[in-house]
Symmetry: C2
Subunit: 129 residues, 2 copies
DNA sequence: CTGGATCCCTGTGGATACTG
DNA sequence: CAGTATCCACAGGGATCCAG
């Protein structure tokens, strides 16, 4: 784990900076559905309906919307098979897989701190009655 | 439990699963402002106003709201100095720093793929006259 | 300076129906 | 099956004012 303290490099600022392209892309990717989709697509190919089932709780609309966004940014490849009934398959691109690595980190983090967070919430809420 | 795909490790499913605590926490953390705040607090202590300046574009309300959320989940420590005028300092806890590591990954990813994404968007938009 | 409370508007996102 | 389109409710989030 990276605990050492580099003088804050310019790189961070680039992403944090308002109105920059980096900031816009970061914001676009830093949302629940996008991250869950990327996570669920871990090096496998899934169809529209399968995705909806895998990512529980996502609406039809949000799925198609988020997928188009990911596709536009080149994180997801969309392959249409000219059949009847139609079959469309989604899979992560190189860039998508790279992002998934860090998303995986967030999932691991969530799991690892579940108890800690639950406890923290209890303490916090206790001091507010 | 629940996953009809044994080959995918259970760990991922835990976070993806709807209605689970993990999912709720993941969703809470997977948002623009929370991640930007965690990122900007990289092992240093900042005050309310400083935070607002560092994270450009965040409103007063969202800052205080997100900070309270992070504090409740035990990701941020809030220290009030009994002075006049009041001084309140925020810094990441252990858990917060751990999360920041992965957020850092997302920032790095964003920077690394800026050109790739810009290009992908151009191509995508081109096919949508 | 810190931050709560309010007003208010826009965008997000759900449900449903309709095409290919 | 794979979407797109429409309607609509509600919450996210900005601006402002107030208080400790």
């Amino acid at each position: 784990m990276v605990t050492e303290r580099p003088e804050r490099d310019q790189a961070d600022a680039d992403v944090t900076r308002v109105d920059s392209l980096a900031r816009e892309i970061f914001a676009g990717v830093a949302n629940k559905w996008a991250l869950l989709l990327v996570n669920v697509l871990a090096d496998r190919t899934l169809r529209f309906t399968e995705l909806q089932r895998e990512v529980g709780g996502i609406s039809h609309k949000m799925l198609s919307q988020t997928l188009r966004h990911l596709e536009r940014d080149g994180l997801v490849d969309r392959t249409v098979h000219p059949e009847v009934p139609p079959r469309v398959e989604y899979r992560l691109t190189e860039a998508g897989e790279a992002l998934r690595a860090t998303v995986n980190g967030m999932c691991a983090w969530t799991r690892a701190h579940l108890d800690h967070i639950e406890e923290a919430r209890r303490r916090f809420d206790a001091t507010r009655d």
